[in-house]
């Protein structure tokens, strides 16, 4: 595999590559659509050929031969290892702790990694009504760990979300362990400028690595709470030429997800 760095890459490509690298070979991953799906396929095409991709629609071990526009695409079934009913997906896989990594995103994430995909404004008089939980609530509760992929933006990173759809490290006044949540919660938040990780004591998201060219000030001005910064700060390997080529030519040639 080429390790030459890519001459150019977009923020979406950078995020996708970072997410892909978080997936160890052989892991059982609960995949959402869009960038997470691309990240999984990129991992499969590079360092993790045995990644097991599971979709809430019931497809297990999917190997889609096109970019699936939805998590229930027929291409996720053809050639997959198993079709599970949704009752099995939620009870026997998720609630039973068989999902190692879950991907999440949302309209808002707050300083404890709580995600909102339900409503901007108040529930009874919404400014924007979002789709709601889908499986996100239970992915956040049960997956052994979750990865959040979201672009930085002051409105998307408030100190407190308008509605907690998917709980993070601390929600409604209690920590995950106080709530008795089985999964590990959001271990990494992958943004377009940095990576955040929860503080092991407080559960607050703090900057753990900056991307090449980004500054803490860049990040802070897009985030609604006072950011802590880890010391020493981790480094991030930029996308290499192979990864970018795969994304552009094989995995998302029509640029459905990578802008």
């Amino acid at each position: 595999m080429a390790i030459e760095p890519s001459a150019d890459y977009t923020p979406s490509e950078l995020m996708t590559v970072q997410a892909a690298r978080e997936l160890p070979d052989g892991a059982v991953v609960f995949v959402g659509i869009g960038l997470p799906n691309l990240a999984c396929n990129l991992a499969r095409a590079t360092h993790a050929p045995n990644l097991c991709m599971i979709y809430e629609s019931g497809a297990v071990g999917a190997i889609p031969d096109r970019v699936p526009p939805s998590i229930g695409d027929p291409s996720l079934v053809t050639g997959s290892l198993m079709v599970a009913s949704m009752s099995e997906i939620f009870q026997f896989f998720l609630q039973n702790g068989k999902i190692e990594v879950g991907f999440l995103g949302g309209a808002q994430i707050d300083k404890y990694g709580n995600l909102n995909t339900t409503v901007v404004g108040s529930y009874d008089a919404p400014k924007v009504r979002l789709p709601g939980s889908g499986g996100a609530c239970e992915i956040a509760i049960f997956a052994q760990r979750t990865l959040v992929v979201m672009k930085l933006n002051k409105r998307a990173f408030p100190e407190k979300v308008d509605f907690i759809t998917s709980p993070g490290m601390r929600s409604l006044g209690k920590s995950r362990s106080e709530w008795g949540m089985p999964g590990g919660g959001p271990v990494k938040v992958i943004t377009d400028k940095c990576i955040m990780e929860p503080n092991p004591t407080t559960g607050e998201l703090e900057v753990s690595a900056l991307y090449p060219g980004a500054t803490i000030e860049n990040v802070q001005e897009n985030v609604g709470w006072k950011l802590s910064v880890r010391s020493p700060l981790g480094t991030v390997e930029p996308p290499n030429a192979t990864e970018v080529k795969l994304l552009r030519e094989v995995l998302d040639p029509d640029r459905l997800h990578i802008k």
Partner: protein, 300 residues
């Protein structure tokens, strides 16, 4: 068993009543738009619509005024964005429809309890979220063995459920492959069941591979044979999902006027699914390619 085959118009007229709790399930796969369109055409109203993903099908039914309430867990246009008709009804105070909201797991649990004739279903869910705070039907139950507190949701028993299947015999024995969603649970939970199939097959085809049967004819009230009945959703092995239509819907539904034009042309403007397909011959491009599985031995 008696022959239960009727046409969609007869099935909807006789089995869907105003005020019913109606379920048309299918997770991305096998969503029976043909039944929804006939319900709209017949002017059914005051329905409570339940479904994990309201999707375009309930966006259309909401826009057409068939419903007074929605029970759901994800109200979006999959892979595209918002359901605009839905949003117009709920982004106002007071809302123009009632909503009752869960997560997918909560909806699956409600159907599972209904199918098992249980009054509730336990799940380890919802702690630390705002979901139960806005839905009094998410309660808790205490484990009699460990003392743990679990979430509980009530069983859902629809009046009528429509199950779209790849094939069925005239008695309602219905076979499905590909994604299964919660169609089996919804059907067993329901007082009445309409099976809509892409293809009518002889009973011997069902008996040739009994492990493929999703629901038995003994729980089915009527069988409708409706090729392409799930478009723009899909039927594995029959036709692909019409992803372009899902993208286009984002524009169609953006205003009440353009949505009404759509309904006038494609729902009220046709008598049935056959005419719907006739005015859109280009849809035949979605016909599935062949990738046939191998048989297994049922002998002994």
């Amino acid at each position: 068993m008696k022959n239960k085959v009727v046409n969609m118009s007869e099935a909807v007229a006789s089995l869907v009543q105003n005020g019913d709790t109606l379920v048309i399930e299918g997770f991305t796969h096998l969503i029976c738009f043909a039944a929804a369109h006939e319900i709209i055409r017949q002017g059914k109203k005051d329905l409570t619509l339940a479904r994990l993903t309201p999707d375009l099908i309930y966006d259309q039914m909401l826009a057409a005024g068939t419903a007074k309430k929605l029970i759901f867990s994800w109200a979006g246009n999959p892979g595209v964005g918002s359901l605009h008709a839905f949003r117009r009804l709920v982004e106002c105070k007071p809302r123009k429809i009632e909503i009752e909201e869960y997560s997918h797991f909560g909806m699956v649990a409600r159907f599972s309890a209904g199918a098992a004739n249980l009054p509730f279903w336990p799940l380890r869910n919802y702690m630390g979220t705002d979901i139960p705070g806005h839905n009094p039907l998410i309660k808790t139950v205490t484990c009699p063995f460990t003392g743990e507190t679990l979430a509980a949701v009530p069983g859902l028993r629809p009046d009528i459920t429509v199950v779209h299947a790849q094939r069925a015999d005239r008695f309602g024995n219905a076979q499905v492959w590909g994604l299964l969603g919660v169609q089996k649970e919804a059907a067993f939970a329901s007082k009445r069941v309409i099976v809509v199939a892409e293809e009518l097959v002889d009973e011997s085809v069902i008996r040739n591979d009994p492990n493929r049967t999703l629901i038995p004819g003994s729980i089915v009230s009527a069988v409708v044979i409706e090729p392409w009945g799930a478009h723009p959703s899909y039927a594995q092995g029959y036709y692909d999902r019409d992803n372009d239509f899902y993208v286009k819907w984002d524009q169609v539904a953006r205003t009440e006027e353009s949505l009404k034009e759509y309904l006038d042309r494609y729902v009220f403007g046709v008598k049935n699914r056959h005419e719907y397909m006739q005015i859109q011959p280009e849809l035949l491009r979605l016909k599935a390619k062949a990738q046939i599985s191998e048989g297994v031995n049922y002998g002994y």
